[in-house]
């Protein structure tokens, strides 16, 4: 079955079983490497992508359910060669250790700051809690989210809304 996927602003037609989890299509058919397989159960977040502004687990999302939706992967965060403020904060804070989970940390943080531009510590903990890291970089991830939040707030027009991805 042919399905059209809109990923990072480009349309792709793929001919696959519609129940195939989105993750395998993104990785193996579209050649994207940001989302990664961690559990296949929607428990860890390594496969996170943003669909219509929501962070979803692509490992348990049937491809047919996101046909035509705007899908953003880690590769699509930077705009016009400029890193997303969260990506820059990740570099400034030197967040990753191995880095394998960081796709999920970043993508989830993008949605978190989209909804709550100036989160409290508790909101960060709660908003990020489903994204696991086995190098346990949580402390640095949280610091980077705060850093990016400050940068993004400063860059916002007084009444403006942050545009994410």
């Amino acid at each position: 079955m042919s399905i059209t996927l809109k990923v990072n602003g480009r349309a792709h037609a793929v001919d696959v079983d519609p129940s195939t989890p989105l993750l395998y299509i993104l990785r193996n058919d579209l050649g994207l490497q940001g989302p990664r397989f961690g559990c296949g159960l929607g428990q860890c977040g390594a496969c996170t992508v943003i669909v219509e502004g929501k962070a979803i687990r692509s490992c348990v999302t049937p491809t047919s359910t996101v046909a035509g939706s705007e899908i953003t992967t880690l590769e699509g965060l930077a705009q016009g060669g400029t890193l997303h403020p969260l990506q820059q904060a990740w570099i400034d804070e030197q967040v990753p250790q191995c880095g394998f989970c960081q796709n999920g940390q970043l993508m989830n943080a993008v949605v978190l700051l989209d909804r709550v531009p100036n989160p409290t510590d508790a909101q960060i903990r709660e908003g990020m809690n489903g994204i696991l890291c086995r190098c346990m970089t949580y402390y640095r991830v949280q610091a980077a989210i705060k850093r990016a939040s400050t940068v993004m707030s400063a860059a916002l027009p007084a009444s403006g809304e942050e545009v994410v991805a």
Partner: protein
């Protein structure tokens, strides 16, 4: 299908320097110099970017070992004056690569940002064994520094010949050589040798002894070492451009998934291939002995086939292991498989008999796994009679040799291309997956990528050994510790080495049965002056020795957290019995002994004091009076050595008496690992270690019934989460050496030492907060609550 394999950016950058230039052709034509010619060939073939290259299968090889006694194997200067370093190490995300660039840039006298680094691929980098033991900086750093210093020496000689002045009259800074007496006379490294070979031989009985004629700089002369340039691997990890081992794709590649025995030790009686033949793109069921896998064109179909495949298994006649609830009783009852004679100092029996107070306790620590965030994986290409494996295995060189042996291939027809991957904190299942990929590729005759599923990773990954540790200590009337007895039992009978062709999981399942490598039991590391001591170390085994998911292997500081939990909890129990402050009690045990080789006691004392000061420690015995509030707070300290690195940590906890939940609110770490290469990198490595250890203290335990491991995902095997992160972490980099500016200050290992004391620090803090001593890990809410209730807290 889009097919492409990118290579690590720094490799690509390094290659870009050569492409199209005459120097590259010269390199390729060179026959006597393996590293450069083969690095170019290897990268070209590993890098089928787009159409024309994508058609190329791997070249036939051979892939000879780069010669570590050739300077060109380590350092290449490009025409534009930049340099690429080649080291036989791998980087698990602790910044090892960046640290090597710093050390080598310093010795070469070149700006850090004018250098790049290639690591760990067996045909283009010298064999330094990959990573392990946290010894990269300590053991492999010195030869890397020496070869870079030698390159500098040779470059100065070239400049000397060019200007007709002795090398002593030349100055060099950031890759530019000038004549001291006439600074208008200058030449860059690129102009001196860019794109050409050094052709300089090195000496050394082995790779760790590699040296040229040049001396390395003294510590005060180092400019880049000790600063914190950002890690070079991070940008590509946050913008999605890095190609990881898990992303390896080559033309014609197919996908495999394993099917594991449903019961540990089960025998495969038969497979019904017709149960999966209708799956689109089904290629083959591969089985040999009890190893079983399916191969399909597409990944999701391989997963489907692995679930759908009908196979008949026969359960073993006897249970493979006790249940995890019965583990410690089983371990106490078991006849040890190894019991070396106890180590005795003084007369502990008599001292205990004469002690004013005797304290006894027993501690229990479960099997714990790596349970990497990304399950084990590997890809292999068998074309042209060679075997190329793309892997994140931290010991890529061992994987190469092991696979060659396993597949009975000439070693020089096998190569491993090392790429980044999920955490490699020891003997992970990356070893096993690399062998499986190579075996399956050979069976299918096409490139195969295999990845474990979550349940395999969590259940079948290697485990750190479970421990029971029994301690007895005697205090005299003044509260001095006069005797200490320690008796450990480690469930570590079939401890695996790295990449052994007869112990990797696929080999075990195929029926290979080497003599078990009996792992050892360990004792806590400390420098306490205790006049009478006895240490007895036993190893016990599980009923099922082979083909078991409870196979033990090195996990980040393989025995350290277990035995230090026991040792440093017990010191705290003794301090409490002596009604002494835990910091002062430890300092007293470290003071007054005559022997202090390598300043070990001085460094321990300095680190304990530094941690206490950073925390703001108030001197008093534990526990503190328990009030009536819901949240009880307390602090605990723990101290240890790993190798020559000293670590002291203080944990501050909040214990919720209604739920039993423990939050480690603050951590302080005083750390002395000698010369620090990159302080910010070290800081993050220490943070990661401490939180990893928090996870092991609070959550991690491999659970099993009498047939199988029942920890199979993140619900049945919880881990630390964002909610658990401490609010504050303080790191103090101590240097307890009396002369930290001495020219030869050594650097010790820092990759895993800081994981060692955290569990005990947390246990001691919980005791301080509640007066309840927890002696079994992990400190899950239900256990803490039960202990609080039992003690009527």
């Amino acid at each position: 299908m889009t097919t492409f394999t990118k290579i690590p950016r720094q490799v690509e950058d390094a290659m870009g320097k050569w492409s199209g230039s005459t120097s590259r052709r010269n390199f390729l034509k060179s026959s006597g110099l393996l590293v450069v010619s083969f690095s170019a060939a290897a990268i070209a073939s590993a890098n089928p970017l787009g159409g024309e290259a994508a058609a190329a299968a791997q070249a036939a090889g051979p892939y000879p070992d780069p010669d570590f006694r050739q300077l060109d194997s380590w350092v290449v200067i490009h025409e534009d004056g930049t340099a690429t370093f080649y080291v036989g190490k791998t980087d698990g995300g602790q910044g090892t690569g960046t640290a090597f660039r710093q050390m080598m840039s310093d010795e070469l006298d070149i700006a850090f940002d004018k250098t790049s680094l290639v690591m760990g691929s067996t045909d283009i980098t010298v064999d330094q064994g990959g990573s392990g033991g946290s010894d990269a900086i300590e053991v492999d750093g010195p030869p890397a520094r020496r070869v870079a210093a030698e390159a500098r020496r040779v470059l100065l000689e070239l400049a000397s010949a060019r200007f007709g002045v002795p090398p002593g009259q030349l100055a060099v800074s950031e890759g530019v050589v000038t004549v001291r007496t006439d600074p208008s006379k200058k030449v860059t490294y690129g102009e001196l040798i860019g794109g050409r070979r050094f052709n300089v031989s090195l000496t050394g009985a082995n790779i760790n002894a590699t040296a040229g004629l040049a001396n390395v700089k003294s510590v005060p002369e180092l400019k880049i070492v000790g600063t914190s340039p950002q890690r070079h691997d991070i940008p590509a990890k946050v913008d999605g451009s890095l190609t990881w081992a898990v992303d390896a794709k080559v033309p014609g590649m197919v996908h495999a998934r394993n099917v594991r025995p449903p019961v540990a030790g089960a025998k495969l009686l038969g497979v019904d291939e017709s149960s999966v033949r209708s799956i689109p793109g089904f290629i083959k069921v591969v089985s040999k002995g009890n190893y079983l896998a399916v191969v399909c064109e597409r990944e999701e179909d391989a997963i489907k086939a692995s679930r759908q495949l009908k196979a008949e298994w026969e359960k073993p006649a006897t249970p493979p292991f006790p249940t995890s609830d019965d583990l410690y009783d089983y371990m106490r009852r078991a006849t040890p498989t190894s019991s070396p004679a106890p180590n005795v100092v003084g007369n502990p029996e008599a001292a205990l008999a004469g002690a004013a107070k005797v304290v006894e306790a027993e501690y229990e620590f479960p099997f714990q796994g790596h349970t990497a965030i990304g399950p084990a994986h590997g890809a292999a290409d068998p074309s042209n009679g060679q075997m190329t494996i793309w892997s994140n295995d931290m010991k890529s060189y061992g994987l190469r040799t092991g696979v060659a042996d396993f597949l009975e291939m000439p070693r020089d027809r096998v190569r491993v291309v090392w790429m980044e991957g999920p955490q490699v904190y020891g003997r992970t299942a990356a070893d096993d997956a690399g062998f499986e990929a190579a075996f399956l590729a050979k069976e299918v005759g096409r490139p195969v990528r295999v990845q474990w599923m979550r349940h395999e990773e969590t259940a079948w990954d290697t485990k750190s050994p479970a421990y029971t540790c029994k301690l007895r200590g005697g205090l005299d009337a003044q509260g001095n510790l006069v005797a200490l007895e320690y008796e450990a039992r480690a469930a570590d009978h079939n401890h695996l080495g790295y990449n052994e062709p007869d112990t990797v999981l696929i080999a075990q399942l195929m029926g290979k049965r080497p003599a078990p490598a009996s792992g050892g039991a360990a004792a806590p590391s400390d420098m306490y002056a205790i006049p009478n001591r006895r240490r007895a170390l036993h190893v016990v085994g599980m009923p099922l020795v082979w083909e078991t998911p409870l196979r033990t292997g090195n996990l980040r500081d393989p025995n350290g957290p277990q035995v230090t939990f026991a040792g440093e909890s017990f010191i705290d129990e003794l301090a409490a019995a002596a009604k002494a402050d835990p910091v002062e009690f430890r300092l007293r045990l470290l003071t007054g002994a005559a022997d202090d080789s390598e300043f070990r006691r001085a460094r321990s004392i300095a680190s304990i004091k530094a941690a206490a000061e950073a925390y703001g420690w108030d001197s008093r015995p534990s526990p503190k009076p328990v009030g009536r509030q819901t949240i009880l707070t307390g602090r605990g300290i723990s101290y240890c050595f790993r190798g020559r690195t000293v670590v002291v940590q203080i944990a501050e906890v909040e214990v919720n008496r209604e739920t039993g939940h423990v939050w480690v609110k603050r951590l302080v770490c005083a750390h002395d690992c000698g010369l620090v290469i990159n302080p910010e990198g070290l800081r993050r490595t220490l943070e990661g270690n401490m939180l990893h250890s928090m996870s092991r203290a609070l959550y991690e335990e491999v659970r099993f019934d009498a047939e199988k491991v029942t920890s199979v995902d993140w619900r049945t095997h919880p881990t630390l989460t964002h909610a658990d992160a401490p609010a504050r972490i303080d790191i103090v980099m101590v240097n307890g050496d009396p002369n930290p500016n001495r020219p030869d200050l050594p650097h010790y290992g820092a990759g895993e030492a800081a994981i060692r004391p955290t569990v005990a620090a947390i246990a001691n803090a919980i005791y301080d907060a509640t007066g309840v001593r927890l002696r079994r890990v992990p400190f899950r809410d239900d256990r803490v609550l039960a202990a609080l209730k039992a003690a009527r807290v």
